[in-house]
Amino acid sequence: MTDRTLAPAAPSALGEPVTKPARRGSAFSAHRMSFVTWLYLYVSLFFVAAIVLLPLITTALGGFKTLGDLRVHPFGLPGEWQWANYTDILLSGRYWQMLGNSFLIATLTVALTLAVAAMAAFTFAHVTFFGSSFLLNYFLIGLMFPVATAILPLFIRIRDLGLLDTYWGVVLPQVAFGLGMSILLFRRFFQNVPKELFDAAFVDGCGYLGYFWHITLPLSRPILATVGIVSFVGSWNSYLLPLILLNSDAKYPWPLGIMVYQGEYSSDWQLILAFITLTILPTIIVFFAAQKHIVAGLTAGAVKG
C-alpha cells in the first residue's frame, strides 16, 4: 500500500518524465500494450468467440437451406434461401402455443416467487419472533439438493392433488424449489434498509404491513428484478419438471415441444434447425436488449446465494 504514494514521485525524482500512472492496472495495462500482446489478445478472443458463435450461426443459416444443401455445405450461406422453413413454423399454431405455455408458466412462477419469498423474507429481516432463525435454516435446506432427488414423490404428490398436466402443477414445485435462494437474496437486501426508516415509519403510525407495502417494496426494485430474472430464466429453460408433470402436447413449454418436434422430423435437420433458431430467438433478443440486468442478475443471484 505504501508503494501507492511513492508511485508518482519516484520517476520524477530520477529526472525522468513522469509517466501517466496506470488508471486501471491489471494483468494487462492497456496503454502500454505492445503489438505482440495486442495480437495475442485479439487472436485468442476472436478464436474463442468463433467457437461459441459458429454452432449458433450454422444453426440459424441451416434453417434456410434444403436438406441436400445442408448435407453438402453445412457451412456458409444457403444456395437458395428457403424462407418457407421459417415461415411455415411461424404460421403454425404450434410454435406460438409452446412459447405461450412457457411464458405463462414463467410469469406465474415469477409472480408467485416474488410475492411469497418477499413476504417471508420480510418477516425474517424485520420481525423478531421465537424460532425465527430455525425457520430460516429450514428454508435454506432447499439450497442443498436439486429437484431431481425428490422427483418421484413430487410426481405422486402432484398426481394426488389432481394437478398433473396443469400449469399450476409445474408452477408450484418450481416456486417451492426457488424459495430458499429467493428468501436469502431478499432478506439480505431488506436488512440493509436503514433502521431509521423503520423507526420513522412507526412514529407516523405505520404498521408492519404498511411498512412492507409503502416502504420496503418501492425500495426493493433492484432485488425484485434480480430474483425475477433468476426465476424467469430458470422457468423459461426448465425441462425436467414439465417433462414429468405434463403429458399433453398442448401444454408443453418450448424445451419439451422442441424435443417432440425433433422426434417427429428426426432427420429433416433443416426444419429442426429452423425450429431451434426460432425458439431461442426470444431468449437472444431479450438477452441483448437487457444484457446488463440479465448478466448482473444471474451472476449476483449465484454469488450472493
Partner: protein, 301 residues
C-alpha cells in the same frame, strides 16, 4: 426530545402488537409451499426407497435395503457416478483455467471487451435442451459440421455421439462450451474487487505479467475460484437437460449422469421405490459435498 423518544417507544409497542398479523399473513404461504413440495417429497423419497412400489395404492411391499443393493450392483450407476466426477474434473482442469484466462483478458478496458463478454456469456442463457440439440447437429455424421470437416480431409465422418468411447468427451465439450461464460463472469466480478493499487505497486517493482498474475490475482481471487468450483460440483450433480437431446444417456449407458440414470431407470419404468433410492443417494452425495466443501474450503468466505 423526550416526547420523540416516547413516540418511538410507543411505536415499538405498536409494532409488537402488529407482529401477529404479519406472522400469520406473511410466513404460511412460503412455509406451506416449501413443506409440501420440497421437504415432504424428500422425506417420502427416503420412505419409498425401502419399498417395491409402482406408484399406485399404498406402498406395502417392504424390501429393506434391497433397492440400494440393486443400485450398487447396476453397472450403469457406477458409470453415471464416474461421469459425474469426470464432469467435475473437466470443469476444474479445463473450464476453470479457460474462464479465468478469458476473464483476465476481457476485464480490461480494451475495445470490444463488452461485446466479447456478452458473446461468451450467451451460451449460458440458452436452454440446455437447445444447446444439446444444436450440438447434436454439429456432431451429426451425415449433415453436421463434423461431417463437413471430415469430408474436407477426405476421411469417413465419425459418428461421435454413437461411439461409446467418444460420446462422453463430446458431451464434456458441450458442457464447457455452455458454462465457461458463466464462470468467466464470476471471475470478472472477482477481478473487479481487487484493489488496483496492488498492480500499480507490482508494476513499479518490475513484476512481470505472469508474476503479477501468480502473486496478486490468483491469491486474491481464491474465494471466487472456490465458488466457481462449488458451482461446477452442484451443476454436475444435476446435469440432465443437456444429456437428453445429445445422447439420452446412451450409447449403452456410457453418458449417463446420476439424474439421467434416475430418469431412465426410475421414472420411465415407474419404479418409485428404486427411483427414490437413487434420489436418496443423490441427496446424500449433494449434502455431504455441500457441507464438506463449505466446511473445508469456504469457511472464511
Amino acid at each position: 426530545m423526550s416526547s420523540a423518544i416516547s413516540a418511538v417507544s410507543t411505536g415499538r409497542r405498536m409494532g409488537i402488537q402488529g407482529k401477529l398479523p404479519v406472522l400469520i399473513l406473511f410466513l404460511p404461504p412460503a412455509l406451506l409451499l416449501f413443506t409440501l413440495f420440497v421437504i415432504l417429497p424428500m422425506g417420502e423419497a427416503a420412505w419409498y426407497s425401502f419399498y417395491d412400489w409402482n406408484g399406485y395404492g399404498i406402498p406395502e411391499k417392504f424390501i429393506g435395503f434391497k433397492n440400494f443393493e440393486t443400485l450398487w450392483r447396476t453397472s450403469a450407476f457406477a458409470t453415471a457416478l464416474g461421469n459425474n466426477f469426470l464432469i467435475i474434473l473437466v470443469s476444474i482442469v479445463i473450464q476453470l483455467p479457460l474462464a479465468l484466462w478469458l476473464a483476465t483478458m476481457v476485464s480490461n478496458r480494451i475495445p470490444g471487451a463488452v461485446v466479447f463478454r456478452l458473446i461468451f456469456f450467451m451460451p449460458y442463457v440458452l436452454a440446455d435442451v437447445a444447446a444439446g440439440l444444436i450440438w447434436r447437429f454439429v456432431y451429426d455424421g451425415d449433415y453436421g459440421l463434423f461431417a463437413a470437416i471430415a469430408s474436407m480431409f477426405n476421411v469417413a465422418a465419425p459418428y461421435v455421439l454413437a461411439d461409446r468411447h467418444l460420446a462422453i468427451y463430446a458431451v464434456l465439450a458441450v458442457i464447457v462450451w455452455k458454462y465457461f461464460g458463466f464462470h468467466m463472469m464470476l471471475f470478472i466480478a472477482g477481478l473487479q474487487n481487487i484493489d488496483k493499487s496492488y498492480y500499480e505497486a507490482a508494476e513499479i517493482d518490475g513484476a512481470s505479467r505472469w508474476q503479477r498474475f501468480r502473486n496478486i490475482t490468483l491469491p486474491l481471487l481464491a474465494p471466487t475460484i472456490r465458488l466457481s468450483v462449488f458451482f461446477s460440483v452442484v451443476g454436475s450433480l444435476q446435469l440432465f437437460d443437456m444429456i437428453m437431446p445429445l445422447t439420452g444417456g446412451g450409447p449403452s449407458n456410457s453418458t449417463q449422469t446420476m439424474v439421467t440414470f434416475l430418469y431412465s431407470y426410475g421414472i420411465t419404468r415407474m419404479k418409485v421405490g428404486f427411483g427414490s433410492a437413487i434420489g436418496v443417494v443423490l441427496f446424500i452425495i449433494c449434502v455431504t459435498l455441500a457441507f464438506g466443501y463449505r466446511r473445508i474450503f469456504m469457511r472464511n468466505d
